[in-house]
Amino acid sequence: MLDFIIGKYNYWMYIVLMMVGFYAMIGKRNLVKKIIGMNIFQTAIILFFISIACKKGGATLPILEHSQHDGAGHAVNVSNYLNPLPHVLMLTAIVVMVATLGVALAIMIRMYREYHTLEEDEILRMLQ
């Protein structure tokens, strides 16, 4: 059981983080806290994707070193390198997440100008 938890601790962290974010989005009534929750939720997914890229047995970053002796001719052993694709996907996902955060913040600023508060309950009362 303990091995199950420790051996895959990054996946457990991803689930914990995601639930923290999820709780903040659902449970909190303050709009800033909701946005922070949303961001934690998205970050958890980045952690998940980065974990996928890992390989057992000391794989390193996918940077090819050209050896001095034989130029470009030596074979690349895939198992020595991490899978770069999830990282690349996450670069795109980070851009998307930043954009989401930007839109959410922009909406929030306009709401603050209109209602002078960021508590959802108070805004709802004003809308009645």
Partner: protein, 495 residues
Amino acid sequence: VIDQAPILIIVIPLMFAFLTPLLGLVKRQLCYYWAILALSASGICAILTLTSLLKTGVIHYDLGGWQPPWGIEYVIDHLNALMLVLIAATAFLAVIYSKRSIEQEFPEKTAAFYTIFLLQVVGFQGIVITGDMFNLYVFLEIASLTGYALIAIGEKGALLASFRYVIMGTVGACFYLLGVGYLYMVTGSLNMADLARLLPNLYSSKVVLVGFAFFMAGVAVKMALFPLHVWLPDAYTRAPSPASALVAPLMTKVAVYVMIRILFTVFKPHFSLEVLPLPEILLSLGIAAIVVAALMALAQTDFKRMLCYIVVAEVGYMVGGIGLANSVAIRGVLLHLVNDVIMTLGLFAVAGIVTFQFKTHTIADFHGCFREMPLTMAALVVFAFSIIGVPPTGGFFSKWYLIQGAVIAKNWLFVIALLTSSLINVILFFKIFEIGYGFTSTHDAHAHGERKAGVKEAPLSMLIPTLVVAIGVILVGIYNQPIMTRLIQFAVPEL
């Protein structure tokens, strides 16, 4: 040019969108014609793609010459060629329609509006055209983000509605992204065709099951499937009328398209519909959506809000139809997808005209409208008949296929739900017709009496698109057979 048409559908509005704010600096009025130009060019490319598809069969377009599964691939088959043309047509009509509403509601934001508008069309077209799971996620987020922004422009309360939509929509998109991650974990591929080839050996894997569940949950949020529909009524009611004419018909329907794609292209129908208990789940959610949304629609006094619940019910038709899991029902679903885009566009266009004339959109506003705006109301009657399912409008034929499918599947509950919802739609719209003809002279009508003295027919830039959509509804009904045999038939999976 014809070879490059698939990519041009996306690239033209994208490039035009970037130049729109600059043009807005020079002259604001030009943005309108600029957007029309962009969308007509993109629409022509969509039509070219459709015709070359009909000639040559499925089109594969590799971006940047990278071979799939490594590169991103655009795949155009019969289902998404139809969707591409449909989205292009909807966007084109919505942009023509938007002019007067914008002048009235937020003239200072014209350039910003058209930038976001074009980007949203890019998002929709991209979701439909792509053959790559991650690319679909990016386009899904483009469409959603622009949707949030468009809704936030709207009337009082739009900001909070939009904020809630941001929160829910992000959860939906993140679930979709997780689904992509889980499938990538076991297959190492993002290409839909490649996944379809690799996955059958892995159907027993728990990872695939979890990924599948994430996909379904994520897409269900985006399509506002009951009980995840709570964001929709507020957001679409508060949205400014030119925006709701674009967002309301397309966002939910594109999400339904994504669901169909995942169920039948990425996964095999045999896995989606037979191995898992998915049909039962989809059917019960669909039936619940139809019944609850129809009842909620009955309780509304706001016309736009009533339409929102009708949209939720229509999503229930389609999801329930997929749950019936036979080829007749799936045909009905695909035909209904086409019909529903057109009908919803028309209904929200009428709602926009009402908002334009009276500054509000309650049902009581319709008092005496048949005398003052005969053409608009004639269009409304056509849309109402299509929603109810009166031949020869499009809605009749898709409902006919759905009911036939339900009878084949011996699912009487779905038949009952469909008929009940149709009857409730009759009540909903005849209530409006009654008010519109001025048969009910309540105290409400008197209050509206003087104010509406000077109301005339809607301006031409709003009226013509609405009438074109009304004609479209009838044409889709009359030509449902060619649409069925030349396009939809090929898109139905073998069950």
